[in-house]
C-alpha cells in the first residue's frame, strides 16, 4: 500500500508549560480537502503552526509524517522544501521587501528552481490573474499596509506560486468581507487538484459555502472530537459550538 501523503499521529503540544493539543490524529491523502473547524482556543492555530515547525510551540509527543517521513525534527525551511505550506492567519510584514522579490526567493528556496526573470514574471502574472489581483500588487512591500483581504489573497498567491503537496490554510477566511471571501475561496478552488492535500482550518462554516471539503473535523479542547462530511459543518452552523461542548463534557 502506498504511503499516505500526510499523517498526524497522537500529537501533543504545549505552550509555556500548558498543554494545548492533547493527542490529535488525522490523515490527509492527495486530492483531499479536509476542513478543520473549532471554536476559539480549541488549538487550531497551534496545530497549524506546529505542523510547519514554529519554534514557539513545544512538542511533547507524537509524529507528523509527510510521505512517510517524520518531519517534526526538521526546521520550517526544510519542511517547506519537502512540500509543506502554511497560509498564515496573521501574515507577517516584511518592510522594504517587494512581493515579487519575496516570491522569487521563496520559489527558488522551496522548489530549488531558478526561473528566468521573464519566465517568473509570466508565471506570477498568470497566478495573479487567476486570483483577480492587480499586477501592481507585486511591487508592494510584503504585507505592509495591506488590508485584511489583501493579506489573505497574498497568502493564496504564495500557495499558487509554491505549488506545495500539503497545504495548511489557517483561517484563510477570517476578517474578509463577502467579496474578498468569494475571491479567496475561488482562488483556493482553482488551486486544489489531484496531487495536493489540503487542511483548511476555519472558525466559521461560511467559507465552506464556496469550498466543498471531502471531510470535516471538529477540534475541541486539543482533540478532534467529531469527523464527518459537509453535513457535520451544517449541523455545527445550526447548533453552534455549544453543542459540541455539551457532548465533549458528557
Amino acid at each position: 500500500m502506498p504511503k499516505s501523503l500526510f499523517v498526524i499521529e497522537d500529537l501533543h503540544v504545549s505552550v509555556e508549560g500548558k498543554e494545548i493539543l492533547k493527542g490529535v490524529n488525522l490523515t490527509v491523502e492527495r486530492g483531499e480537502v479536509h476542513a478543520l473547524m473549532g471554536p476559539n482556543g480549541s488549538g487550531k492555530s497551534t496545530l497549524a503552526h506546529t505542523l510547519l515547525g514554529d519554534p514557539r510551540f513545544q512538542l511533547t509527543q507524537g509524529r507528523v509524517l509527510l510521505k512517510g517521513e517524520d518531519v517534526l525534527s526538521l526546521p520550517p525551511d526544510e519542511r517547506a522544501r519537502r512540500g509543506m505550506f502554511l497560509a498564515f492567519q496573521y501574515p507577517v510584514e516584511i518592510p522594504g521587501v517587494k512581493v515579487r522579490h519575496f516570491l522569487r526567493m521563496a520559489v527558488k528556496a522551496s522548489k530549488g528552481e531558478e526561473p528566468s526573470v521573464t519566465e517568473f514574471r509570466k508565471r506570477l502574472f498568470e497566478k495573479m490573474a487567476l486570483l483577480e489581483m492587480n499586477r501592481s500588487f507585486s511591487e508592494r512591500y510584503v504585507n505592509e499596509g495591506f488590508s485584511g483581504g489583501e493579506k489573505k489573497r497574498n497568502e493564496i498567491l504564495q500557495l499558487a506560486m509554491l505549488e506545495p503537496e500539503m497545504a495548511v490554510l489557517d483561517e484563510a477566511d477570517s476578517g474578509l468581507d463577502i467579496d474578498a471571501l468569494r475571491a479567496v475561496a475561488n482562488g483556493i478552488n482553482k488551486l486544489t487538484g489531484p496531487t495536493m492535500g489540503m487542511l483548511l482550518i476555519t472558525h466559521y462554516q461560511r467559507i465552506l459555502n464556496y469550498i466543498d471539503p471531502h471531510f470535516v473535523h471538529v477540534l475541541f479542547d486539543g482533540r478532534i472530537v467529531r469527523s464527518g462530511g459537509m453535513e457535520l459543518a451544517q449541523e455545527l452552523e445550526a447548533k453552534g459550538y455549544e453543542w459540541i461542548a455539551g457532548e465533549a463534557v458528557a
Binding site: 525551511d77 502554511l86 507577517v92 516584511i94 518592510p95 521587501v97 528556496a109
Partner: protein, 469 residues
C-alpha cells in the same frame, strides 16, 4: 539546497578586497609627523608657497587641538607610526594601459575599468597618496566640466582652486580636518559649469595598499547655477595587523538651482580608522543629497553636513551603517538652517551584529531668522543579537520659533514571527535574516544607481552569512 561556500564576512573580504601588492612604492617618507614631513610633501608636489604655508599652519592647529573625547575610541591611533605620504608612481595615466601593471591589476580585480566602460562618465583612481588614473568623457570636457585630481587642479586651475579651497571646511574646523589640511594628497576636483547636467555618475575609487598608511584625500566640488552632478566614491583596503588612518575632507559648493548627489560606499577593511569631514553649502533653491553607506572600517566617525544658506535650499541625508564584529560606526548628519524656508531630511538606517556598535549622531540647527524651516530626522536601528549595540544622539539647536522639526527613532530586532514566516517559505535562517535586513535598508538602497545597489546588497549578504540567531 546548496549552501554558500562563504562562511564569514572577513574571509570574503580577504579574498575580494583584502589582497595587497608587495611592490615597493616610488617614494615613502619617514613615519611620523613634523614640519619637515609637511614641507617635504609640499616640495615633492612643487606647490606654491601659499599652500605650503597653509599646510604648516594646519599642522600647528592639529597639534594644539585635543583628540575628540566623544564618538569612537581613537586611543589606538599612533600618529608617530603612520606614513603620511606614499607615492606609488611618478605619473598619472588617462589610459589604463599606462598605469603600472601591479596597480592596474589591483583596479582590475576591483572591477573599476570595467565599471568605467559600462556606466560611468568619468573615473578617478587613487592608490595610497596619489591619484594614478583619471579620465573624463570627452563630451563633458568639451562642455567645460573639470574632473581631475586635486593636486593637478592646484597646478592647472589655481584661481578657481584658491577661490574655494578651505572655504567650506576651514583648516581649523576640527583636529582631523587640520590634519588633512596639513598633509592632504589626491582626491577629486570637480567643476560643473552653469546649466550643465552630468547625467551619468562620475566616480572616484580610493585604495589604501601600504601598511600603516594615512590617506588624506581632499575633494572639492563646485556646481554652478542650475547644474547637476552625481558623484560616487568607493574605497577598500588590504587587511593588515597594524591599523591605517583615512582622514579625508570634502567640500561641496552648490550654487542657486543646482543639484548635487554625493554617494559613498565606504568598505574599508576593519583595521582602518575612518575620520572624515564632509560638508556642503547650498544656495538658493539648490538641492544637496548625501547618500552614505558605511560598511567597513574599525572606527568610523562621519557626519556629512549641509549648510542651507539661502531660501529654498534643501538638504538630504540617507545614511546606512553596518557594524559587525569589532566595528564602531559613529555616523550621522548635520543640517544647519541659516536661511528662511530651507528644508532638510535625514534618514538613517543602522544594523549592528556580532558585537558591533552603531551610533547615530546628528545635529539639526536652526539659526534665528530661519523662519519656515522644516527638518525631519528619522533613525531606525536594527540590532541582530544581544552582544551588539545601538545608540542615538540627536542634537537639536533650535533658535527660531517658527520652524517645524520632527524626530523619530526606532530600535528593533528581527522578530521571531518574521523568521518563521520566511522560513515556512523555504528560506534558510540566514537567507530569511538577510532578506529582512535588505528590506530594512531598502529606503537607502533604492536611491543608489542599480550597479551600486546590487553591490551593496551583495556586501550585506556577505556580512550576514555565518552567525545569525
Amino acid at each position: 539546497m546548496a549552501k554558500k561556500a562563504v562562511e564569514a564576512p572577513q574571509a570574503d573580504y580577504a579574498q575580494k578586497y583584502g589582497f595587497r601588492d608587495s611592490e615597493k612604492p616610488l617614494f615613502r617618507g619617514r613615519p611620523g609627523l613634523s614640519p619637515e614631513v609637511v614641507k617635504e610633501i609640499s616640495w615633492m608636489k612643487e606647490e606654491p608657497a601659499w599652500m605650503r604655508d597653509l599646510r604648516l599652519r594646519a599642522l600647528e592647529v592639529f597639534r594644539k587641538k585635543p583628540m575628540p573625547t566623544w564618538g569612537g575610541d581613537l586611543s589606538g591611533i599612533n600618529f608617530d607610526e603612520i606614513y603620511y605620504y606614499v607615492k606609488p608612481t611618478d605619473r598619472q595615466a588617462r589610459n589604463w594601459d599606462n598605469v603600472p601593471q601591479y596597480i592596474k591589476r589591483t583596479f582590475d580585480k576591483l572591477g573599476i575599468p570595467q565599471a568605467e566602460r559600462e556606466f560611468l562618465a568619468g573615473v578617478g583612481a587613487q592608490y595610497d597618496s596619489e591619484v594614478v588614473y583619471h579620465n573624463l568623457r570627452e563630451e563633458l570636457a568639451k562642455q567645460g566640466v573639470l574632473f581631475l585630481d586635486t593636486d593637478s587642479a592646484l597646478r592647472e586651475h589655481p584661481e578657481l582652486f584658491q577661490e574655494y579651497f578651505g572655504t567650506v571646511v576651514p583648516l581649523a574646523d576640527n583636529k582631523f580636518a587640520a590634519l588633512n589640511s596639513a598633509v592632504w594628497s589626491g582626491g577629486s576636483f570637480i567643476y560643473i559649469p552653469e546649466g550643465v547636467r552630468v547625467d551619468v555618475p562620475l566616480q572616484a575609487y580610493f585604495r589604501i595598499n601600504a601598511e600603516k598608511l594615512g590617506q588624506f584625500e581632499r575633494t572639492l566640488i563646485i556646481a554652478e547655477r542650475g547644474s547637476y552632478l552625481h558623484y560616487v566614491e568607493g574605497c577598500t583596503a588590504p587587511i593588515y595587523s597594524a591599523d591605517s588612518l583615512h582622514a579625508a575632507v570634502v567640500e561641496v559648493i552648490i550654487k542657486p538651482g543646482a543639484r548635487v548627489r554625493y554617494t559613498t560606499i565606504q568598505n574599508w577593511s576593519t583595521n582602518v580608522y575612518n575620520l572624515v569631514t564632509k560638508r556642503a553649502v547650498a544656495y538658493q533653491d539648490s538641492i544637496v543629497e548625501w547618500v552614505d553607506g558605511n560598511l567597513g572600517s574599525k572606527v568610523n566617525m562621519k557626519y556629512p553636513a549641509v549648510f542651507l544658506m539661502e531660501p529654498g535650499a534643501h538638504g538630504e541625508m540617507l545614511s546606512l551603517a553596518f557594524a559587525g564584529k569589532g566595528q564602531h560606526q559613529d555616523a550621522g548628519a548635520k543640517m544647519v538652517h541659516v536661511a528662511p524656508h530651507t528644508s532638510s531630511v535625514v534618514v538613517s538606517k543602522s544594523i549592528s551584529k556580532d558585537g558591533g556598535r552603531s551610533s547615530y549622531r546628528g545635529l539639526v540647527k536652526a539659526y534665528p531668522g530661519s523662519v519656515g524651516a522644516k527638518a525631519s530626522v528619522r533613525c531606525d536601528a536594527l540590532v541582530l543579537d544581544d552582544d551588539s549595540r545601538s545608540d542615538t544622539y540627536p542634537y537639536m539647536e533650535i533658535e527660531e520659533e517658527q520652524v517645524s522639526i520632527s524626530h523619530e527613532a526606532t530600535v528593533s530586532k528581527i522578530a521571531a514571527e518574521q523568521l518563521f514566516y520566511l522560513m515556512s517559505r523555504g528560506l534558510s535562517e540566514t537567507e530569511a535574516a538577510t532578506l529582512i535586513v535588505s528590506g530594512f535598508i531598502e529606503p537607502v538602497v533604492k536611491e543608489l544607481p542599480m550597479e551600486y545597489a546590487v553591490e551593496l546588497n551583495r556586501l550585506i549578504q556577505f556580512q550576514m552569512e555565518g552567525a545569525v540567531g
